[in-house]
């Protein structure tokens, strides 16, 4: 570090959370962190515009009481997060302040200007060295590990190190705090680099200490049938879930956070209701993680900047979340990042852009909206590390389009960069068809992209079967539209059968009950078994004497499938319903 004197400035203007500062000497860095002195409080801020000696800062706190002429200190460092063991299970605000450790006004209210350390500084971790003196290492190389809850947490060479270095010394196995030096590296110029278990990383830069980025080939199983079977998301994939209010975004996010088959889940509650985060904070510690047997909270990090918290920190919260995700990816972990909602993040940008008096784009969003969205989603992905391990960050962002209209800039900007689109529809949620993902409008490029591996892993006919079902849904919806005009009498029996088939597929497979202990999560193994039986039923050629008879038969068949959904796999009831379905199929077949 070069020890240039810290730059200081004086406030010349305040407009909401934007503060203008006059800097008489010293240098300024775009996006560096500054502190605004306001009485005995120091308010964190970020430089967002430099014009001559004038800097514009966005303050991450309420600016009440800030005065013209007050001092501002510039830190010379970009907005960063702390990376160390102890992150899992924590609840942070958008700037990585641990909410549990904040002093509260009157016991309840967030007091501004406090920035306690993000991770426990005193806790002693049992460090297990794996590197030896003399080893050649590069940025992100694993030097040793500590056990963080259920996973080994790799201690890595600095993620921002340039070029290679040699391990000069490393400590014996033993207990250390995150600030203790556990190893010393020597770079190409003979300079020594002390290594502790704590690193910092500027949130707006992606961590790229890996060998290569991979093409997503494996599925990230969510245990939600309509997603896994019809609109799958690959490990390291990016997907978006837009939907009007009340369409079930929140419940869907909760289900994903609980049942997605990944190592670590990072939930970014960005500008959403506090009540929902509270539910996560309170229920997750009580739920069991089926994979490790520990509490679900042990694999979760919550970043929470709810709608009434300062807007600028909302902008930071999505970056904080994705940086933590990338950090765990460097350890070979599969991470799922749920960002709810990216629209609130975009609105935060819009508010700031308005204060900066930038020329507005569509709906007053800044012109750089799309590139920011693209930059964020591009941080997802599966990577191969230098030691041939792989890790992934899967990004699923929700979008809350104004008026439920998908034509608006945030939804459109997002659709350009994601590979799966799970569009929630008001119509389906009004009909209580949950999850309300529209089976006709939604799409996933991963179905084709992963075709080979899906067919190899699940069934040689898997993808063709899925495509066949998608066609059936489209046909069913056409017939349904026709019937609203001409009535049931006006369509042929063949058309009616298509309609009944598609309706059954919808009712017994696409819909899933998020509040039922069995139905809320459906393993891939079970999906394969259920889906194959269902497809067989859908393909069976039936003929009925009249339409009411067809309806009666399908009602019975549909009910058998439906009841089966509520039986645990391989239970006696489950096999009994399978037999019942087989019998029904035999009975209804055309002679």
């Amino acid at each position: 570090m070069n020890q240039a004197p810290a730059t200081r400035g004086k406030i010349t203007g305040v407009n909401g959370n934007m503060v203008s500062v006059d800097v008489s000497e010293g240098s300024l860095i775009q996006n560096e962190v500054a502190f605004v002195n306001c009485g005995d409080e120091r308010l964190k801020a970020e430089v967002i515009k430099i014009r001559g000696r004038q800097a514009s800062l966005q303050v991450f706190e309420d600016t009440r009481g800030v005065r013209v002429g007050q001092d501002v200190e510039f830190s010379g460092e970009l907005l960063s997060v702390e990376l160390a063991p102890g992150l899992l299970g924590m609840t942070y605000d958008g700037l990585q302040n641990p909410l549990e450790h904040l002093d509260n006004r009157q016991g309840f209210f967030l007091k501004r200007g406090q920035y306690p350390p993000a991770v426990d500084q005193e806790k002693r971790w049992l460090f297990n060295p794996t590197a030896k003196p003399g080893d050649r290492v590069q940025a992100g190389s694993w030097l040793g590990w500590v056990q963080e809850l259920h996973y080994p947490h790799q201690i890595m060479a600095p993620l921002n190190m340039l070029g290679a270095a040699t391990v000069k010394s490393i400590v014996e196995e033993g207990e250390y705090t995150i600030r203790d030096t556990v190893a010393v590296l020597e770079d190409g110029n003979g300079r020594e680099i002390p290594i502790s278990m704590l690193q910092t990383w500027p949130v707006k830069k992606p961590i790229r200490a890996y060998a290569e980025r991979l093409y997503p080939q494996e599925m990230m199983v969510t245990q939600c049938r309509i997603i896994d079977t019809f609109f799958p998301v690959g490990r390291g994939g990016v997907a978006c879930v837009p939907g009007p209010f009340g369409a079930g975004k929140t419940v869907l996010q909760h289900i994903l956070a609980k049942y997605a088959q990944v190592d670590i889940v990072i939930v970014v509650a960005c500008g959403e209701r506090a009540g929902e985060v509270v539910e996560t904070i309170i229920t997750f510690p009580e739920l069991e993680d089926p994979k490790t047997g520990g509490s679900l909270m042990d694999r979760t990090i919550i970043i929470c900047n709810t709608s009434s918290m300062p807007v600028a920190a909302r902008d930071a919260s999505v970056y904080t979340g994705v940086t933590l995700a990338e950090y765990y990816r460097q350890m070979g972990r599969n991470v799922l990042l749920l960002a709810d909602s990216t629209s609130r993040w975009a609105q935060a940008m819009r508010e700031m852009s308005g204060r900066l008096e930038e020329i507005p784009g569509e709906e007053a969003f800044p012109a750089y909206l799309e590139s920011r969205i693209a930059g964020f989603y591009e941080r997802g992905g599966q990577v191969r590390l230098a030691n041939d391990e792989t890790g992934s960050v899967t990004l699923i962002g929700t979008v809350s389009p104004a008026g439920g209209n998908f034509e608006e800039p945030v939804t459109q900007g997002t659709l350009k960069v994601v590979s799966a689109f799970h569009g929630l529809s008001r119509k389906r949620s009004d009909e209580r068809r949950y999850p309300a993902i529209d089976p006709i409008d939604s799409w996933s490029l991963y179905l084709k992209q992963m075709e080979k591996s899906l067919n190899a892993e699940l069934d040689p006919e898997w993808v063709p079967m899925v495509v066949e079902c998608q066609d059936l849904l489209r046909r069913g919806s056409q017939v349904g539209r026709m019937m609203t005009v001409v009535g049931e009498e006006g369509v042929s029996q063949a058309d009616l059968l298509d309609y009944l088939r598609s309706d059954m597929l919808d009712a017994v497979y696409l819909q899933q009950n998020a509040f039922d202990a069995v139905d809320q999560a459906c393993s891939m193994k079970r999906q394969l078994r259920d889906f194959k039986l269902l497809v067989r039923a859908l393909r069976t050629k039936f003929s009925f004497p009249d339409k009411p008879e067809a309806r009666r038969f399908f009602a019975k068949l549909q009910d058998a499938f439906y009841q089966k959904n509520y039986c645990a796999e391989d239970s006696a009831d489950y096999t009994q319903y399978e037999t019942k379905i087989e019998n029904l199929l035999a009975e209804g077949v055309a002679p």
């Binding site: 009440r64 013209v68 609840t91 909410l99 016991g107 209010f245 539910e279 009434s308």
Partner: protein
């Protein structure tokens, strides 16, 4: 240190700008006009020495020679039990002819958010004795719910009834842009209903200056927050939040900020959320429940105000043609109380009755197209009429227990037990026995 200035440079809309030194952001000032009238004002922008003030009483008739005195603190409101039974305007000045509150016990308005880890998951049912609310979309303590309605609908009557009948320790009413008659209506209803002694009112009438309109929700919620911290269960009633949003728009335009949708500021979502998010169930203390009227211009739910509100609140009640619409209305928190806190048959009655009512509506549509009435159709028509009489009519005033019993009675009068789709165990216990 009190600083006084007597030269206003610019007056734009209700914003007065002057050159002043050592002023802090959001500081309060007192503006004394040339004729002796005074008003409070708040600093909303500072650029060098140029300070922009939002004048609460409005800038109509304001002289550029008016005296401006900075008070050295932001807007505060008095808080103590003495507030109960009192009525104030949007600047916190009494409207009930009684003396002003003393200067002690001042709390900041629009204070910081509650730390999410200091909240608890809501779990208390609030009975309102309005069956469309209690049975179909129950109100849960600490919930924030808007009433989406339109001009001409009886939303204020509904709000007043909830105020009278809901179980709450303290009621805070925030009237935003109320017609004078509506203000009198609330006052009389609360006095006659005997709840005035646990009510605080902040009322801005349509004739008052627009800036005061902005302050009403903040004053009401700051007071509510203090009662909540003391362990009280507070019910905040706000009407009408669309008038609040329109005031934001006016100020935004006067400040020459870039508008986003339909002239509303880009920060509309955050501005509304900052208010609604005050609804809270404090860990180890009281709670704040917010019920707020949002009128939809032209009945359009995609208008920016109802749309943003819908994303913030935990459900909504639709009030149209004088009744709470059972289909669009939703209480997102109802799962937390139905059956577990309320009677075991609550969920079953709720779902079946709605499903049957939906079928009845379909039947009506079918008959309107000229199809013949079948026996089945007649059952549904009878059911629809009874449903409107016993549930939807806003005059119905019954406890939840009684409303559920009425539900069973209504279903039994129209249908056979097999037709209602309810679990056998509940049918055996609750289905009215034939006499």
């Amino acid at each position: 240190m009190i600083k006084a200035y007597n030269r206003i440079t610019n007056i734009i809309g209700d914003i007065a700008e002057l050159d002043a030194k050592d002023v802090s952001f959001n500081e309060l000032a007192q503006v004394t006009n040339h004729n002796g009238e005074t008003s409070l004002a708040q600093v909303i922008r500072m650029d060098g020495d140029r300070v922009s003030l939002q004048v609460f009483a409005g800038a109509k008739g304001l002289s550029n020679g008016a005296k401006v005195r900075f008070l050295g603190h932001p807007m505060t409101v008095h808080h103590s039990d003495a507030l109960l039974g009192r009525i104030f305007n949007g600047s916190g000045v009494p409207m009930d002819g009684k003396p002003p509150m003393d200067e002690s016990g001042q709390v900041d308005i629009a204070g910081p958010s509650v730390n999410p880890v200091k909240r608890i998951v809501p779990h208390n049912f609030i009975e309102t004795r309005i069956p469309m609310i209690d049975v179909f979309n129950p109100l849960v303590e600490s919930q924030k719910l808007p009433i989406f309605s339109q001009a001409g609908e009886p939303y204020n009557e509904l709000l007043a009834r909830v105020g009278l009948q809901a179980q709450a320790d303290v009621i805070v009413l925030g009237g935003i842009g109320l017609k004078f008659d509506e203000y009198i209506f609330f006052r009389q209803t609360f006095e006659e209903g005997g709840v005035m002694d646990r009510t605080v009112m902040f009322v801005h009438t349509a004739a008052d200056p627009v800036v005061e309109r902005l302050l009403v929700p903040d004053l009401a919620l700051a007071v509510a927050e203090q009662f909540g911290v003391q362990g009280k269960r507070v019910l905040v009633l706000l009407t009408d939040m669309t008038a609040f949003a329109d005031a934001l728009k006016e100020i935004n335009v006067a400040m020459e900020q870039v508008p986003s949708n339909l002239g509303y500021p880009g920060s509309l979502y955050s501005d509304l959320a900052a208010r609604y998010e005050k609804a809270v169930d404090f860990k180890g203390a009281g709670s704040i429940t917010v019920l707020a009227v949002t009128t939809m211009p032209g009945g359009d739910v995609t208008h920016p105000v109802p749309d943003n509100t819908g994303y913030i609140t935990e459900g909504q009640y639709y009030l149209d043609t004088g009744m709470i619409n059972p289909f669009g209305s939703l209480s997102r928190l109802k799962q937390l109380v139905i059956d577990s806190v309320t009677r075991e048959d609550h969920g079953a009655v709720m779902n079946s009755m709605i499903r049957l009512y939906a079928r009845a509506q379909e039947t009506k549509k079918k008959l309107a197209m000229g199809f013949e009435v079948t026996e089945q159709d007649e059952k549904y028509l009878k059911y629809a009429d009874l449903f409107v009489d016993r549930f939807m009519d806003l005059r119905v005033d019954v406890t939840l227990e009684k409303a559920l019993d009425n539900g069973w009675k209504t279903m039994a009068e129209c249908f056979e037990p097999e037709e209602v789709g309810i679990k056998k165990a509940l049918l055996e216990k609750y289905w009215p026995k034939a006499e």
